[in-house]
Amino acid sequence: MTSRKSRDGRFGAGDLLGEAIRGLAGHPGRLALTALTVVLGIGALVATVGFAQTGQRQLEVTFNAVDAVHGVVKPVDDNSGLAGVAPTAVLPWDGDQTAARLNGVNAAGLVSEIDLDNAAISAAPVIDPMAPPTRVPSVMAATPGLIDAVSGILTEGRWLTWFHELESQPVAVLGQGAAELLGVSRVDNQPSVFINGRSYTVIGILEQVERVNGLIDSVIVPQSTARRVFGLEAPDELQVKLKMGAGPMVGDVIATALSPNNPTGYEVLMPLPPSQLRQRVTAEVNSVFVILGLVALVISAVTIAVVTFMSVMERRGEIGLRRALGATRLSIAAQFIAEAAVVGLLGGLTGAAAGILATVALAASRQWTPVLDLRLVGVAALLGCVVGVLAGLLPAVRAGRLEPATALQEGT
């Protein structure tokens, strides 16, 4: 008699799988129909994750461009009534340089609005008092780093430089709107604008900025020039452009760096880290569709169970025969479980493929980049397999319990 250890040649995993696959191949139509329900369930789940990942990536792309990398620091609003609790701090004149030295800050610039009542601003040195009143651009002050901090784009000329700032030069950059009001469209001929009679050489025209929309309709002069000429008392805002994901880190230290004695005197607005954003988005999208996919999987499990049960009843003769040939209850049960598992596996793989196709189709229809973690295919196949095993369990146990004599007699 063979010892228990020498199982070599006994009904093993290879035999089991072979019998399961041949058993299934005997009924290809039934196999396809059963697997289809798994395809639907797994496909829905994979597509859900694919949609979520693709959509979220898209969101990040759009979001990154502006909000995820821009931050702002300004003094706490005096009129908020909180002034007594947190005394307003003043932004230092060189706050942009302080900020630029911080880890995670790519660019920093100060910006202020200049309050000029009834300012006379024109492209001509003398204003004709008889001329009809026109809309007048506003005046703002900025430091050299602002252009990068607000991702500004120039159509003409160049932006304010450190030379202009340090020497308080009478120069100006015109926002697109201001340039149109003043009738300036080129800078290569060194046009001037006049503010209350003082001349400023126009060195550039600003076409587009993020965050500080007022710049477009303004005449922008160096900060030091504004202090000297207009008596600017302190900068209004510090704009910063950050490295991706540096928002929380910079937010922690920037106020202290600007004013070690009164860091709470600032209002600091920094972007959320992208990971937090991702969690928020996926959580929202997934919860709804994952439930749908799970419902589909439960339906497919029931289908597999019913079909396997039918198969057991139909194959009683075969079961009896196998028992007569030496199959134990366990081998019989294992065969039906293996058949259900293979159905689940096939359904899982096909479902994963369908889900990927759906994701690609969705992305293509919106001209997005499809994003899908391919490890998902493995998970999907495994999930299908598990569903198959669970569904096959009950009918398989029934099959194992059939009495061989009865099974042989009843099934032909």
Binding site: T2, D8, G9, R10, F11, G14, D15, E19, R22, A25, G26, G317, E318, G320, L321, R322, R323, A324, L325, G326, A327, T328, R329, L330, S331, E403, P404, A405, L408, Q409, T412
Partner: protein
């Protein structure tokens, strides 16, 4: 020579009743001793308990009362797993309705008898081929059962039964679905196997087959009687 060593199986006072209602006593107080290489036939009207008896001998069913020992071992205390192993190792079956799997080739059907029995994979094909040779069916090895004649199907089933090299062949009306010409073929085959040393117990309605056996039994209402 020790006669006990020659005993293949022994039934002592074996009964089998099916709890009703109505309760059926399919086998009543049967005594039977079969030696190695024996050739036994059982005749009897339909419903007299012949299949019940064969199921008992084949370990497909258990006696309600009495003792059944196979190869010197009492089968009553055996767990299902050990009964199955003993059955797979020692007993081959041939059925009236063949019980061939329709979607497997003849060769695959024959190999099926070896996947549970501990025959290494590499040897199965070769042994199946040998079994098909014994029943002159090698030319049909790749055929599917549906394309075979009744006689060929039963020969394939016999090949399956002997491929695992059992000591006992149980045949339940093996010619019940065959015409007299092919019945003769099957009879020859059983005789050949018996001469090669296999013990054969055949249930049959065919007097010719019954007459070929060394010992003949008659069943009536669950009672087994030897025809002397």
């Amino acid at each position: 020579m020790n006669p006990e060593a020659d005993v293949l199986l022994r039934l002592e006072g074996v009964s089998r009743s099916f709890p009703g209602p109505p309760e059926v006593l399919a086998l009543r107080d049967a005594d039977l001793t079969v030696v190695r290489g024996d050739y036994v036939s059982i005749m009897g009207p339909s419903g007299s308990g012949k299949s019940t008896m064969l199921n008992m001998l084949g370990l497909l069913d258990r006696p309600t009362v009495g003792r059944y020992s196979l190869a010197g071992q009492d089968t009553a205390p055996l767990k299902d797993r050990d009964r199955t192993r003993l059955r797979g190792r020692m007993i081959g079956f041939v059925f009236q309705s063949f019980h061939l799997l329709a979607r497997r080739s003849v060769l695959d059907n024959v190999m099926l008898s070896m996947i549970y029995g501990g025959v290494p994979k590499a040897q199965r094909r070769q042994r199946a081929w040998g079994a098909l040779e014994q029943v002159s069916m090698t030319h049909r090895a790749a055929f599917y059962p549906g394309t075979l004649s009744g006689g060929e199907r039963q020969r394939a089933a016999i090949a399956r039964a002997v491929a695992s090299e059992p000591e006992l062949l149980l045949a339940d009306e093996p010619t019940g679905n065959l015409d007299s010409g092919t019945s003769g073929e099957v009879l020859e085959m059983l005789e050949g196997l018996n001469q090669a040393g296999l013990a054969v117990i055949v249930v049959t309605h065919d007097p010719e087959i019954a007459a070929a056996a060394r010992r003949r039994f008659q069943m009536r209402d669950g009672r087994l009687k030897e025809v002397l």
